[in-house]
Symmetry: C2
Subunit: 433 residues, 2 copies
């Protein structure tokens, strides 16, 4: 196996680990539109291998393992698994529970490994973002420390697209596509209303990175198309410059469609936020942000006297599967399958990654990166992919993201609305009785 | 022609007015996803009748007529008109310009009729909501007062669904469908996240009526499905009762998905709003509202200590054509065509309405109502369609709205995103030169 910059490439297939045992899969962090594709990929691939006996799901991520809330996924109908793949939310439930270092979280970690041992869990698949990769890493370390052989593989998932060592993250393409269509449609609305609101601010997710905000640029096919301005957490935000930018566009075309990332920061690195004194933190210690669009609306209205509306799709950009990207769905499924294949090759402590091959036509292949390196790092938008003024993307950004939003998904519709199945509640832990 | 409760029913076809002249069509007020279907209906029906010579469009509603910003719609390719029908925004542009009474707006009204005379406009079609119906009514009155023969027909359009004398309004069904799917998807997201946000508040449009908020109930197919609580402008809002409702659901199912209409009012009739002192008004004199979801989020967080997120789709619910209702699109087109047919029968001063026929299977037919009666009135959600507690709809509401969201629309997709054409700018007023 060649390793370069922490990225492990499966050059030669390793001999199967030969381990016979059960596998467990769990979902963690904020769901994406395609997180259940990865789950489906794990389950359906696991079903193909005789080394894997039982296929368990943990309820609400690592918490389900700690609480022994498990489901026997082999008992689900294959049609249920198939239709879950195109359902929003995390079918197994998710969590934001943080495992700390061995010394701090020893009790949790020992319990986890003890439970794994009890259920003969030999393959551990964790679907999530940076923090979840950290959880997977800690489980892998704990297993090694406790001399328990278990292959731990992380499966990347995040709309934020901020995982390192992977070209992009499953979940991002669908969120980008949903935001781009929202901007297209709302942009036409803004364009129509001559004597009313002339400014729209759409606030995207993205605490530290502007991947989602930048993707809204896909909506723009001609100069008059929305969006006109995009602001990134990567670029220190200046209110004066912002007001100047808005004024300039307004004088040119009589309207301005602005996209802002929730995580804008000023020159001093402080979050630009209406209620600075009320910033609180979530379980992972991240500040909770809100109100940047509202704050900027007030500034525009008071300084430019231009009526401004705000749009905040919030979790809709994480859950909107009805206009998901087919490429994204395929890749989410693929990384789930690859996780199983890697584990069966005896790999442990790795995250599946996607590598983009060079060339004009989009081609990808999967690879792996060490969890120890991938966990807790963030990939930011490169400076050269943001224009000089810091208020729009460059062509490179568009070329990067466009292949990821291609293709539409057919969802099952019943009486005018989609059919989104669930795993049946009554099945949780039924196999224990 | 029989008239009952101000609703004129075309029982016998009247002899054609015989007027030969040009027609004009304009769009007014906030666009809906299907407003261009009505425009397409007018244009394509007008093309079928030899009494109608030129087909003009006014830019930005009545303002375009006042400024003589017109477009010759016969010069557009039929394929452009066809594809405009499934494009968001108002293709001709819209406005919120208010015509007041004859004595107050005499200058405007005289100018309008003078321009109509100059362009030999004999058929006047105005697509809009309550305020726009008032504009059409005033134009009709002014024409009569000035002895200018012109048939004026209003074409209903509003996501708010608050026009009287019509069973429902084109634009509403698509907004309802978009909101329902957003609630379904975001509801699954909420359900997945076990130890993080447990409360979601989604804020819908609806200044005085809860049609859109209530429609979110379509997302609910089982008890655990979102939404769990809905609040309407029709029901006086009590914060204490609200907090009690939220607490009750939370204790039962560990999460709460709440839908609120932007126009909630307290027992005294004052808007429930974060910034009461900053309520301003738009051109039609309506207060601009914002922040009800944000306000309630803060109340929940401080009184119940439960982390709460807000979703504000705002104008996306007016512009999202990518998941529009086919029934709504067909009806929007139908009322456009019917407007032309009515005008050609010599009717003037009427709005096209939709009547629902009795029976289990949804059937509709068009009819007309006097603009003088329809303008400026608002249809509110009947009390009996809201539950006793005032926090959800009844079965009757669901039975009313379900037929209106049926059927999906195919939109043209180019490179992963829709293709939404525009009328070409250079064509405006080209026929004058």
């Amino acid at each position: 196996m060649g390793t370069k910059n922490g990225v492990g490439i499966l050059k030669k297939e390793r001999v199967s680990s030969g381990l016979k045992g059960n596998c467990i899969v769990a979902q963690s962090g904020g769901p994406t539109a395609v997180i259940n594709e990865s789950l489906g990929g794990v389950i359906q691939e696991a079903q193909r291998h005789e080394e894997i006996k039982e296929i368990y799901g943990a309820r609400n991520g690592i918490l389900g393992l700690l609480k022994e809330e498990l489901i026997d996924l082999r008992k689900e109908k294959s049609s249920t698994i198939e239709s879950l793949r195109t359902s929003p939310g995390a079918a197994l439930g998710s969590c934001r529970y943080r495992l700390k270092s061995w010394s701090e979280s020893r009790k949790d970690l020992e319990k986890i490994i003890e439970i794994c041992r009890r259920y003969n869990l030999r393959y551990f698949f964790y679907i999530g973002g940076n923090d979840s990769m950290d959880t997977a890493y800690k489980v892998d370390e704990a297993a090694k420390r406790m001399n328990y052989q278990m292959e731990v593989i992380g499966i990347p998932k995040t709309v934020d697209n901020d995982l390192v060592f992977t070209d992009h993250c499953p979940g991002f393409g669908s969120a980008a596509k949903y935001l781009a269509i929202s901007v297209m449609e709302a942009g036409r609305h803004l364009e129509s209303l001559y004597d009313s609101e002339r400014i729209i601010i759409l606030e995207t997710l993205g605490r530290n990175t502007g991947w989602l905000a930048g993707s809204c640029a896909l909506a723009k096919r001609s100069e008059e198309d929305a969006p006109h301005l995009i602001y990134f957490p990567e670029i220190p935000f200046s209110l004066d410059k912002f007001i100047k930018d808005v004024k300039e566009i307004y004088h040119k075309i009589d309207r301005v469609f602005i996209v802002v990332s929730e995580g804008l920061r000023d020159e001093k690195g402080n979050y630009v936020c209406a209620r600075r004194n009320r910033v609180s933190t979530d379980a992972f210690g991240h500040p909770e942000l809100e109100g940047v669009s509202h704050y900027l609306k007030e500034r525009i209205e008071s300084r430019l006297e231009l009526k401004t509306r705000t749009i905040k799709p919030d979790i809709c950009q994480q859950s909107a599967i009805h206009f998901a990207s087919k490429v994204d769905m395929e890749e989410a499924y693929l990384v789930g399958r690859e996780a199983v294949k890697s584990a069966l090759k005896g790999k442990s402590g790795y995250m599946i990654t996607i590598r983009r091959e060079k060339g004009r036509v989009y081609k990808r292949r999967t690879s792996t990166a060490k969890l120890s390196l991938a966990a807790n790092l963030e990939k930011r938008v490169p400076r050269r992919w943001i224009n000089r003024k810091g208020n729009f993307v460059t062509r490179e950004f568009i070329e990067y993201v466009r292949p990821l939003i291609q293709g539409e998904v057919d969802i099952a519709v019943q009486k005018g609305l989609p059919y989104y199945p669930r795993l049946e509640k009554r099945r949780w832990n039924t196999f224990l009785s």
